[in-house]
């Protein structure tokens, strides 16, 4: 039977596994709420991970690394914004291109920095980590980004639901023509949301390269950007539900490892599919009311806007 130590370890591992998904997912959620579909999350996360790693190696300061990662993610998003919002390119194609571009760019950027071992964020904050008792060690692994991932969903929910600015963002995502007629600068608002999404995706990438697995290897995001994208849809564009989905996904992944390590007699291939099955099942159950789901989906999602149309 799992004892207290193992339960605590599972809890902390779940939080850590979910953090990059929550952060990247929230970035995409805000972007989509403004009516823009950016499929480039994976690419922005990779560039964020790469630049965050380089900046940390160069300066020795993970805080500067995270800042650099956010700027890099934002710059990637700005390229996407320029192509889709200013030049009216197709959002799906441009987003896919951004991901492919990010995979190559991130690998190229780090060529000179590869192989530098860096100290993980948790060890930087509490240098005695490797000597601490197992219980204390678990608690020390909860770093500021994990805390941010727990708080941010509520902040974004409040922003979108309770503030005037959030209402404007949603109006732009529902009907850019009406929002424009009311005098809102649709393109500028969309740019802001896209750049926010990029910055926070970059931070999610930096969490992987600075805290979760403190290192750089090519393609280290390993599909988490796509999982974040799926979580946005399954959570019906609701920030807190998104966080629940990400935590659930993280929990089932960790529980699968725990079950295997305990020697439970289930085929590993079946266990490997469980995180996906469980997350989809729960989120489908939550969003089973089709009308409400439709009401939540931003009506102008993926549609280009030009003032003349």
């Amino acid at each position: 039977m799992p004892d207290g130590g193992i339960l605590l370890a599972m809890l902390v591992a779940t939080l850590r596994a979910a953090t990059p998904l929550v952060l990247a997912g929230l970035g995409e959620l805000v972007t989509e709420r403004a009516g823009v579909l950016n499929l480039g999350i994976e690419g922005m996360m990779l560039v964020g991970a790469a630049v965050g790693f380089m900046a940390t190696v160069a300066t020795g300061n993970p805080a500067l690394g995270m800042l650099a990662a956010m700027l890099a993610g934002a710059a990637m998003a700005l390229v996407f914004g320029f192509l889709t919002l200013s030049l009216l390119a197709n959002q799906v194609a441009t987003g896919l291109a951004l991901t492919i571009f990010g995979i190559g760019l991130s690998a190229l950027l780090v060529v000179d920095y590869q192989g530098h071992p860096i100290t993980g964020l948790a060890t930087v904050i509490s240098p005695g980590l490797s000597q601490a008792s197992p219980m204390v060690q678990q608690l020390l692994l909860i770093d500021p980004l994990v805390v941010l991932a727990l708080v941010l969903p509520f902040v974004v929910q409040w922003f979108l639901g309770r503030t005037r600015a959030g209402l404007v963002v949603r109006a732009v995502g529902e009907s850019h023509d009406v929002a424009f007629a009311l005098g809102y600068r649709v393109i500028r608002i969309r740019y802001l949301c896209v750049v926010f999404g990029g910055a926070i995706s970059g931070l999610a990438g930096a969490y992987l390269s600075l805290a979760y697995t403190p290192m750089w290897t090519e393609n280290m995001v390993a599909g988490r950007g796509w999982i974040a994208l799926a979580l946005v849809v399954f959570s019906t564009w609701k920030p807190v539900l998104l966080a629940v989905g990400a935590l659930l996904f993280g929990f089932v992944t960790i529980a699968q490892f725990q079950a295997e390590a305990m020697g439970i007699n289930v085929p590993s291939q079946l266990l490997a599919t469980l995180p996906y099955l469980a997350t989809i099942a729960v989120l489908v159950l939550i969003s089973r009311d089709a009308t409400r789901t439709k009401l939540n989906a931003p009506a102008a999602l993926g549609r280009s806007f030009h003032a003349s149309t």
């Binding site: 979760y212 697995t213 290192m215 960790i254 390590a261 305990m262 590993s268």
Partner: protein
């Protein structure tokens, strides 16, 4: 990485001139090409092959000229790359299992070019195969783990249940049992060769469940780093990862291809090359243990050295009996040992592994 990319660029720009000089001077250099499945990086499978390539160039001086293409996907893309390389080289090494059929297909159209395919089992008159006896290194790693572990629980992060991985897990436990009869292995499948995040989570899980030595059969350095962060010993795989775990990484089971590449090219140049199947281990120098961490006591280090020599001499066989499978059946009786073909197709766990194939 930096070095080789620059070299590649330089080679690309200088290639035409170099060709002219070559013709003007004496004989052309013997040309050898390598196909890599991953980027060279700073650790891992492809990195070790590239070290072999560099050793090859160094040992022949200007007489051999090598080139490589990295990050070549297995399948249709690889056939195109291999074909391209076959037109300009006398020998081509294809270094991943999935290149097997493309290599054979291309080899048919280039009967005068020598091909060698790593880890495959299909050969032709101009296609040889080569692989390393990974399990010999794993047995020594297990012995070291058995001596260094207090709990006797070894945590093993593995990718897929294929014979190469399963055999490594079994050999590790047999090595550990020789030092500590109560040793067990707890293991987790990540269902991916490369996902640092998953490897890290798996390692954390195993540590939480009482493993005080962790190892991996996956491609990143995440497991070694998990150990370093939590103060738990680790044993690395593929290449020396001590830079990622200076205090806790005890050693690494590494593959060294230098000797094989040099011999193959030597026989190619002499015209004595023939298609064969090389499966070398410690004796052939294809498997080497990386330098032991200073925390390993001198008597344990001496024992590892003795057992390494015994495996090299053939007096110690990792899969010598008695070997009992998880279901209680005897796979090798006392005095017997598993045959090569049984090791190459192993699909059961030794008693004491907590996990399922």
């Amino acid at each position: 990485m930096n070095f080789s990319r620059r070299t590649l660029l330089r080679t690309a720009t200088l290639a035409p001139t170099a060709g002219l000089i070559g013709h003007a001077l004496a004989a052309d250099p013997y040309k050898v090409a390598f196909v890599y499945v991953a980027p060279i990086g700073d650790a891992g499978w492809t990195y070790q092959h590239d070290l072999g390539r560099k050793a090859l160039e160094a040992s022949f001086g200007g007489a051999v000229k090598t080139s490589y293409v990295e990050n070549v996907e297995e399948g249709a893309d690889s056939e195109r790359v291999i074909r391209q390389l076959a037109t300009t080289n006398q020998m081509v090494f294809t270094t991943s299992f999935g290149y097997m059929n493309p290599t054979l297909k291309v080899a048919k159209s280039f009967p005068k070019v020598h091909f060698a395919h790593a880890t495959g089992y299909k050969r032709a008159t101009n296609v040889a195969t080569y692989s390393a006896r990974f399990y010999e290194g794993r047995y020594l790693a297990g012995l070291l783990a058995g001596r260094m572990s207090k709990s006797g629980v070894i945590g093993y992060v593995a990718a897929f249940p294929i014979p190469e991985v399963v055999g490594g897990i079994n050999a590790m436990l047999l090595g550990a049992l020789s030092a500590n009869p109560k040793a067990t292995i707890k293991m987790v499948w990540t269902s991916s060769w490369f996902d640092p995040g998953k490897e890290r989570a798996a390692a954390d899980t195993l540590i939480a469940q009482g493993a005080d030595i962790i190892t991996h059969h996956t491609d990143s350095t995440a497991v070694v780093q998990a150990g370093e962060e939590k103060g738990v010993y680790s044993i690395a795989y593929n290449s020396d990862m001590s830079a990622y775990g200076p205090k806790t990484c005890l050693t690494a089971v590494t593959m060294v291809w230098d000797g094989y590449y040099i011999n193959a090219v030597k026989s190619g140049m002499a015209g004595t090359w023939k298609s064969d199947d090389v499966w070398g281990g410690i004796r052939a120098g294809m498997i080497k243990m990386a330098k032991l961490n200073p925390v390993v006591p001198a008597d344990v280090a001496a024992e590892i050295a003795t057992k390494t020599a015994a495996i090299g001499a053939g007096t110690l066989k990792p899969f010598a009996g008695p070997v009992t499978a998880q279901d209680g059946s005897t796979k090798a009786a006392v005095g017997a040992a598993l045959a090569d073909k049984d090791i190459a197709s192993i699909n059961w766990f030794v008693l004491g592994v907590q996990g399922k194939v």
